[in-house]
Symmetry: C2
Subunit: 147 residues, 2 copies
DNA sequence: CGTACTCCTTCAAGTAACTTGAGGTTCAAG
DNA sequence: CTTGAACCTCAAGTTACTTGAAGGAGTACG
């Protein structure tokens, strides 16, 4: 049979999946992608299955999953005897992490905002060393400098 | 005079500033901190000025400024002939970056949330390979897998 | 069939910002 | 004087790739 098995080179695969060619070689090296079959001249060849797998990896990475988590997810995505609850748990844990990071960033945003505002109001244009930012920064008041 | 110049070791400095001792040595190595004076036996000694500088660095890092930006801020914080507007601009640019990152993370949060919810509703407990998460991930729909 | 041009190859090193480990020295207390 | 914590240097590891050098493979054109 073997109808319509598209075969393409590393560059085309890279473009299709939205990654760079060195990244693909790197994924092969660390075992996220299986070693690609080669042409007579030694160049890697790929098909649509590879594109599916690489796309999956790319999406996971965009979601912020680490390489080891992606490895785990790839295993789970193929397995027939492990259930989808595991996958959901990984996603849930990651979601929790994202929410923590969000909380941190929101705090950071407020602090930076306060910096900029106060700098404009209190010392705009004065000599660098008198800026309120530096007064705040040099004092070891853990996390409370901009209140 | 030299009244009350507290001198302490690297461990005490580390604890006071909330960093680790290897980090302090690293900062010295890359020139963020000046080479510390040594005891006869070769151990580093620090005073309150060092604590101020290191605290400043730590706060900047906590704010998400990169090492190079910290270097710049340290220069500005000492300079008498450059004004505080430069500092404010650096903070403003950083604030913009933080806001972008925030937007990305909020989107990510929604997508992950949708994942977990749909997995619970559609395929909870089924074989891993049938999980909606994998169906979504393997399709190269750029950024739209969870609507 | 030769040549030009792009795409591909491997291997090594660089990036950020530290952390970890090995193996040995110094300091302060008792 | 001995013990144990703290310190020293130097090298390598971490994450997830990126960048660069030097050269081979594939393809289109004349």
């Amino acid at each position: 049979m073997n109808l319509h098995i598209r075969v393409f080179g590393i560059g085309a695969l890279a473009k299709a999946a939205g990654v760079t060619t060195p990244t693909i070689r790197y994924y092969e090296e660390i075992g996220l992608l299986p070693p690609a079959p080669r042409t007579a001249g030694g160049q890697r060849t790929y098909d649509d299955d590879d594109l599916g797998r690489l796309t999956f990896i790319k999406q996971c990475r965009d979601f912020g999953f680490g390489i080891d988590q992606v490895r785990l997810l790839l295993d789970l995505s193929i397995s027939t005897d492990r259930d989808c609850v595991e996958t959901r748990d990984i996603a849930q844990r990651h979601l929790d992490e994202v929410r923590e990071k969000l909380a941190e960033l929101r705090l950071l945003e407020r602090r930076l905002e306060s910096f900029v505002t106060r700098c404009n109001a209190a010392c705009a244009g004065g000599p660098g060393q008198d800026c309120v930012i530096f007064k705040d920064m040099a004092a070891p008041t853990k996390g409370g400098c901009c209140r």
